[in-house]
């Protein structure tokens, strides 16, 4: 059973009476354990699609099964629960809380989970070990480099042990070298069994994926499996 199953998804934004159609009918499924890269020109609807996949937004028409569950049946609290439990997000702009230490930033999703409070710090520390930032626990985001910040965000995304990680241009704010470290970190998670869906402009980043979906003007223009050049993150 596919983790993600889309059937003819459309999305139109409505503002001040005018309807802006963005997605025109997207269908695909993603199995657990895949590493998918979504590419396409600016404005083609990649982020829009990712928001629907991440249960941050609802499609206008079409069906979306997540983990075999029809998401159109879910109310807001149920969607929040699924985001908390099964989904991790990584954003281009990191979105770390200022004035909050690295450790506490990573603990944030746990506040909204069923995890007992006494396990928060332990889980956050393990997540930070995965991104090799165990030595930065008490730093503030402002004291970190861009790459380090994004790795904190990745630790936050995986702290509650989700099934899938959605990343919207995770390397967009980073130089290519730092971007490579971040992509290596994400690939490492893939090797540990996480499903990864990354939006990216950069072919260098897309090279990590084993499937590339290209979107043009709200439609899938290509969907092909690739042999990732970076099959071993340790290269």
């Amino acid at each position: 059973m596919a983790l993600i199953q889309l059937e003819n998804i459309t999305k139109s934004y409505e503002s001040e009476g005018t309807l802006t159609p963005v997605l025109h009918g997207i269908s695909f499924s993603i199995q657990e354990g895949e590493f998918v890269s979504i590419m396409g020109p600016s404005g083609s609807g990649k982020s829009t699609l990712l928001h629907i996949l991440g249960l941050l937004d609802r499609q206008t028409t079409g069906s979306y099964l997540f983990n075999s569950q029809d998401t159109s049946m879910l109310d807001d609290p149920a969607r929040a629960r699924i985001r908390n439990k099964y989904i991790g997000f990584v954003f281009q702009a990191f979105h770390l809380l200022k004035r909050t230490t690295v450790l506490e930033n990573v603990m944030l999703p746990l506040y909204y989970s069923d995890v007992p409070k006494k396990e928060y710090a332990q889980k956050a520390k393990i997540a930070l070990e995965h991104v090799e930032l165990s030595h930065r626990l008490d730093h503030l985001p402002s004291q970190l480099s861009g790459g380090e910040r994004q790795r904190v965000a990745i630790a936050r995304a995986l702290v509650n042990d989700p099934k899938v990680i959605f990343a919207d241009e995770p390397t967009g704010n980073l130089d290519s070298k730092t971007g490579a470290t971040v992509m290596n970190t994400i690939e490492k998670l893939h090797h540990q069994g996480k499903t990864i869906i990354v939006i990216t402009h950069e072919t260098a980043a897309a090279d990590y994926a084993n499937r590339i979906i290209t979107i043009t003007d709200g439609l899938i223009s290509s969907d092909k499996n690739v042999t990732a050049p970076h099959t071993h993150y340790a290269k």
Partner: protein
């Protein structure tokens, strides 16, 4: 999300803008401070007045001419009304009229000052009976003695003066037997009172006492009294005595309609009732004013919370993306608002208690007033409770706005 971490998060957010937070709660601080202060000072003042009233003695009844004053002009009228005369005293002292009456001491207020040689001192000069001060207030001359009943009968030109009057006019030299001038008449000093300070309504140190007959005929040329102090027998029912007095006077004044009374009776009970009413009205009035300050403070809180919600749009979006429900976000901002107002309430209460304790300390130490400091528990509960309620009320709208934010819009911000 559990409460302790929500509180921790809120406190951190507030601390990050501590100067703004402090300014925001100023309105609440002042409002709560005013309420607690009014209630606790009001209580202290009321206790003080009541303790003084009680020292008059519960069997003392005061009879005044005119109407029961309900407004300031009534008090002036009281001084000018000539309805209480010697025949009233004679009637009251008849046992068939007021069986439980023990004594009736008329009083005449003499306006003006006491002069000696070149000095003049403004004191309270009262025409009174020889025994009134001793029997009612237990104050007796330190030097010399009170004038006598014979002095009253003979319109003797004598005076008993308080210690301050003596000091001001005579300094350290001997006053006894000297002549002072009151209202153009020379009066001989026959007694000097000990320094006692305030005794109920009088400052005994600041007083001059002369026979009421002298005050009436010789000094003022009037035939009425300004006040009559009556004393019921020790075991008597004071309310009954007051009723008998009223009935007697209505009869001797030919009054059938009680609303046309040209006198009124004051007992300890009626004073206590009046004082309580006055302080209650005053308290309500001041609390109402303070409530306006609280309202303004609440609106300030709402305003700053709205700013905070806008500033933290991104944070809200992020929290939602990570699994926060609308309810979680609502709670977070509600708690933030309540912490703000609660802190304001607490601060205001602490300041008010400090001021109130200081006032009572100063009153006791420097003015020798029986002004006890009592921790106004009710006022504290009210102050902190009201401020918390304000957080709830004025925090709700911003918190709902925060909760309603669309996570995508919120994350797109910036």
């Amino acid at each position: 999300m559990n409460l302790p971490s929500t509180i921790k998060t809120s406190v951190r957010a507030l601390r990050a803008n501590w100067a703004r937070s402090l300014l925001t709660i100023l309105g609440i601080v002042i409002g709560v401070m005013a309420i607690v202060l009014v209630i606790s000072l009001g209580q202290g003042a009321q206790n003080l007045i009541l303790s003084q009233v009680q020292s008059i003695g519960s069997n003392t009844i005061i009879l005044r001419p005119g109407r029961q004053p309900t407004q300031p002009s009534d008090a002036a009228e009281t001084l000018l009304t000539d309805s209480l005369k010697q025949k009233d005293i004679d009637a009251l002292l008849k046992p068939i009229n007021v069986p439980d009456l023990q004594a009736a001491d008329p009083a005449v207020l003499v306006p003006g000052a006491i002069g000696y040689q070149n000095s003049v001192y403004h004191a309270t000069v009262l025409g009174w009976t020889p025994n009134a001060l001793g029997e009612v207030f237990n104050v007796y001359p330190e030097q010399g003695s009170f004038f006598t009943q014979d002095d009253v009968k003979s319109y003797a030109k004598v005076i008993v003066i308080g210690s301050k009057v003596k000091q001001e006019l005579f300094g350290d030299s001997d006053a006894l037997g000297q002549f002072v001038t009151v209202h153009g008449q020379k009066l001989q000093v026959v007694g000097i009172l000990p320094a006692k300070g305030q005794v109920t309504a009088f400052n005994v140190d600041d007083i001059g006492l002369i026979p009421y007959s002298t005050a009436q005929k010789t000094l003022l040329g009037i035939d009425y009294f300004h006040e009559i102090f009556l004393r019921a027998k020790p075991e008597a029912n004071v309310d009954q005595v007051a009723a008998d007095i009223t009935a007697t006077l209505r009869e001797s004044h030919n009054i059938t309609d009680p609303t046309k009374d040209d006198f009124f009776v004051v007992t300890q009970k009626t004073i206590v009732a009046t004082v309580s009413t006055v302080t209650q009205v005053l308290t309500i009035f001041l609390v109402a004013i303070a409530s306006i300050s609280l309202m303004v403070g609440g609106i300030g809180i709402m305003n700053i919370m709205l700013v905070s919600v806008t500033e933290r749009t991104q944070e809200i979006g992020l929290r939602k993306a990570l699994g926060a429900t609308n309810k979680n976000i609502l709670m977070q901002f509600m708690i933030e608002a309540i912490i703000l107002t609660f802190a304001g309430g607490l601060l205001g209460t602490l300041i008010a208690i400090t001021i109130s304790a200081l006032v009572s300390f100063v009153a006791q130490t420097y003015f020798a007033l029986a002004w006890p400091f009592t921790l106004p528990l009710g006022a504290i509960v009210l102050g902190v409770g009201v401020s918390t309620a304000i957080g709830l009320i004025f925090g709700l709208y911003p918190a709902r706005k925060a909760a309603a934010k669309d996570p995508i819009e919120a994350l797109r911000f910036e």
